[in-house]
Subunit: 341 residues, 2 copies
Amino acid sequence: MEKKVTIYDLAKRLGVSPATVSRSLNDHPSISLKTKSKVMLAAEETGYRINKFASNLSLQKSNTIGVIVPKLNSDFMSTVLSGIEKIANDAGYNLIISQSLESEEKEKFNTKTLFESGVDALLVSLANETKTYDHFNTFTNRKIPLLFFDRVINIPDCPTIIIDNLRAGYDATKHLLDQGCRNIMHITHGLNRSAYYQRYVGYKKALDEVKLFEIENLLVLDQFNSREIDSVIAKITASPEPIDGLFVTNDTFAVYCIKALLKAGYRIPDDIKIIGFNNDPVSEVINPELSTIEYPGYRMGVLAGQSILSHLNGSINIESADQILLKHQLIIRQSSRKTTN
Amino acid sequence: MEKKVTIYDLAKRLGVSPATVSRSLNDHPSISLKTKSKVMLAAEETGYRINKFASNLSLQKSNTIGVIVPKLNSDFMSTVLSGIEKIANDAGYNLIISQSLESEEKEKFNTKTLFESGVDALLVSLANETKTYDHFNTFTNRKIPLLFFDRVINIPDCPTIIIDNLRAGYDATKHLLDQGCRNIMHITHGLNRSAYYQRYVGYKKALDEVKLFEIENLLVLDQFNSREIDSVIAKITASPEPIDGLFVTNDTFAVYCIKALLKAGYRIPDDIKIIGFNNDPVSEVINPELSTIEYPGYRMGVLAGQSILSHLNGSINIESADQILLKHQLIIRQSSRKTTN
């Protein structure tokens, strides 16, 4: 039996990328007529058989995937986006991205804009403010694939990709307890979103286990903004029982805390132990280096991209993949290590 | 004479934002019918006169502005984007963003995608790889406003917004010379783009002025990637004449250099003085804090947004604003200060 010719064979023969071959066969606008002709000719010569189903589908496609994120100014989000981008580009799709800036009104506007621009699918990480979800009906009513990642909501037929935030919050808090902390402040924001709420539940769970539930010490910030740092330090220094641990659900803000606490004369980790969240590059720039929870952003992006593309290619039904739960990892560095006296 | 009623008066009267009033008057899709009716009623009652020209124009508008950036994973770029976003949102426009990942092919694809999605204007910061510019003809041929920022090219009728990169490169190098450096390595990338090339010219100019042109020491990296740091340190340690200054055109990479040099036993600033570029937040996280060039990203975004919107509103002709040159600023911190012995 003759070996079936693949797009990889054609790519090798022509000295172009598999993506170029795929796009040419799908009559994609980014490929020149000259290249398309060469690919078509080679396909004919080698007996390559075009996948008619995918090919027909592509006629109605914009080959564009829309993404709505809360904010672009985080390493975590740009890492997720590069994962999505990698998968999308390899398949000949382009991403267009918009940011909700944590506003429900703007998220609605973004949803409309991306719908009107004709995206083939939409990937969303929700704004903190968002409390209603009707704006996504434009997509669900028309069966345009819709997927939520990181900050999610359960809508029928829309898959979600998250980490186990409760477990991650538990692991971070348990680690501080294991290092001897007994008065741990939890600094977070956006409890309206399950991602943050679940981390808070994990924090409480770890305290409850060691019968420390009465010392719950929750500080919810409007944003994780450097302008909020003074009030945080004021609250720490004013505490009647000295705070000996901080669990901050954002590495960048945890780094601001370290800088401000050092300036205020605290020793880290001797006086206060600190753990962040995300494993952003900045966590290894600060001295002492910051313990954190590794959040697999790139893998989340890759999986989000693959889920949506599998659906667009008709190879799996997206509804069957209800929820993907990614593993996080506790990363222990100097900022939270028990000091040996 | 009666005071003219403005959208701010209407906003105050109705207890909504000026943006909501503006969008309602322009029949924007993101505003509910109920709100639109309330605004229209208030406009009638107060005698507010709608700007007919802007209002008519809006009938053919998507109220969307497209932005193409090289990469989203930098503080600088997210700062520029938040400046553009601020201005666009206030005027009832939405942004859709795509990244070229420094690839010319992808930039072409992005341009096509954003054109097909019907954006009213396009703002571009060019990919390092891009050497031809015909893909922008789709926009220029149809007189759709096109503006370049940061990484620019001169195309007739397309304004540009940049800083004086030559002067900035000169200032950074001159500062190191003033601190006593005599063997300064310039670490950069993308000399194909004028932004980087001009900084390099500034570096050379400063050396030439003190007759040190023979010590030009240029290191062009493929990317500013943490994987490249080992080869950089190897090059520094192998130098027959000790390197005593580094001018790195990216703060994040400069921070990697500081960490790696400290680890290799160098004292900073005693043995090597370092200056970065951009004034990213990470420059104040590292110890010693990093000297740098303040790049006014937010202001660049605001000006880019204002230029494009003025044109879309018909209030100025974009062609008249050929080039906007923003002021940079030298920021001196511990990493480059002359040590007093």
